[in-house]
């Protein structure tokens, strides 16, 4: 039922797929960090229209499936003459989608800086640039790191969807093997085990980060 010989033969294909999965994860996450920051700042802005736009964007991204967003970008943009390779489309969608969730992490981090810090910085006459880089961000960033790590793992687990728009990630590679050989057990089991291994290892490091930043946070307040 399960042939290790066959598994070893298809393993190089799957590992090539894993490289694409990692590329999509890191690319999508980098974009999500930027999109999330833009949204978090937009929601704090004094311009009402901008705030409404950001709220609407976040609601739309959170209330529609990533798969449909992928189809939308993959099939609709070309009809306007805009063409990306499939992997680029995937990275774009992952970034735009996860960015809507990450905006909330930034917001919580910035709101977590006590009012007294803002007031003290203003009382010292700091300009906005110094206020953000010297006072607010050094305190706001460390607590954001564990939740951002969790979103990175979450994004990694969403990447198999890219196979639906023809990206040959690890899941796409497993699909290709299954389609060519009609053997489903080995490719899908291997893909599942590899995904599980990567996400468990990543979760271990996120938990370590969590403990570390908990300690520094309690150390500061004490």
């Amino acid at each position: 039922m399960f042939s290790f010989e066959f598994l070893i033969r298809i393993l190089p294909d799957l590992l090539r797929g894993l490289v694409v999965t990692v590329e999509a994860t890191l690319g999508g996450f980098a974009l999500a960090l930027i999109v999330g920051l833009a949204l978090a700042l937009g929601r704090r802005s004094g311009v009402r229209a901008l705030r409404l736009f950001c709220d609407g964007y976040i609601a739309l991204m959170r209330c529609t499936p990533l798969l449909v967003q992928l189809y939308f970008v993959f099939y609709v943009l070309p009809s306007y003459g805009i063409r990306f390779p499939a992997l680029m489309t995937g990275i774009l969608c992952l970034g735009l989608h996860i960015g809507a969730y990450i905006a909330e992490v930034y917001r919580a981090g910035i709101d977590g800086v006590p009012d007294g810090q803002w007031e003290a910085a203003r009382a010292l006459g700091l300009k906005p640039y110094a206020l953000w880089t010297r006072v607010v961000l050094p305190q706001a960033l460390p607590p954001m790191i564990p939740p951002l790590g969790n979103f990175l793992i979450g994004l990694f687990k969403e990447t198999p969807l890219l196979a639906a728009i023809t990206v040959v990630d690890i899941f796409g590679a497993a699909n290709n093997v299954a389609g060519l050989t009609y053997r489903y057990n080995e490719p899908y089991t291997a893909a599942a085990v590899i995904l599980l291994a990567v996400s468990l290892i990543a979760a271990y490091f996120v938990r370590k980060l969590e403990r570390r930043f908990d300690r520094t946070a309690s150390g500061q307040s004490g």
Binding site: M1, R62, T64, V68, Y71, L161, F171, N185
Partner: protein
């Protein structure tokens, strides 16, 4: 100007039929996942170490691999072992198992959040274990769990789009079909997005209401 053609209104009946299937699968999965969440959540709290380890492995495996991989597994591999389920059952069981891993964490956290004093108070009143949970712990824990369950329900509405990849004619699948037959991708994908939004967005109000209710209850 022909608005009906411009907005591809003729594709709507088919899409709405798909949306009905999406709702049906969402509801069936939600019921299954809700029950499983409590079973798994309670099993993670039993004294027996081996039961706890087994259930923890269940949760970690289901959360550590993607829902789509799990669905494909059930859809393509179980039949090879002589166990063929109809696609809808595969979808509901696959999504339900996946969601129960997340739901069980909600249950576990909700029960652990109830203070020791409540357990002691119940014991002092002479309540037995079942009575303690039924009358004291669960009524408080359930309220605290409501917002998280609401968020999981929103995730579930979106996750049902995955079952389009195992041949179920729900909203996303209907969208793909209509694009193939009519070639009007812009209008149809916009409608599909709007229909998902119409199903999921009202749930965010429910979650906010539940949050307020839970905050008042505390």
């Amino acid at each position: 100007m022909d608005w009906g053609h411009l907005l591809a209104l003729d594709t709507l009946p088919q899409l709405l039929k798909g949306a009905a299937v999406t709702l049906k699968i969402t509801l069936m999965t939600a019921v299954l996942a809700f029950i499983l969440s409590f079973v798994v959540g309670f099993l993670r709290l039993v004294p027996n170490r081996w039961v706890r380890r087994l259930v923890t492995a269940y949760v970690e495996i289901l959360r550590g691999t993607s829902a789509i991989v799990q669905l494909f597994y059930l859809f393509f591999i179980l039949p090879a072992f002589g166990l063929s389920l109809p696609p809808t059952a595969t979808a509901v069981i696959g999504l339900g198992l996946n969601l129960s891993a997340y739901g069980s964490e909600v249950v576990r956290a909700g029960i652990l959040a109830i203070g020791k004093g409540q357990h002691e108070g119940a014991a002092a009143l002479g309540l037995n274990r079942v009575q303690t949970y039924r009358l004291v712990i669960l009524p408080q824990a359930l309220v605290a769990m409501l917002p998280s369950f609401g968020n999981l329900l929103i995730e579930l509405v979106k996750a049902t789009s995955l079952v389009s990849l195992i041949t179920i004619t729900e909203l996303t699948f209907s969208g793909r079909q209509m694009v193939v037959t009519t070639g009007r991708s812009v209008e149809i994908w916009t409608w599909v997005m709007l229909l998902y939004f119409a199903m999921a967005y009202p749930l965010t109000w429910v979650v906010r209401g539940a949050e307020r209710y839970a905050a008042r209850y505390r």
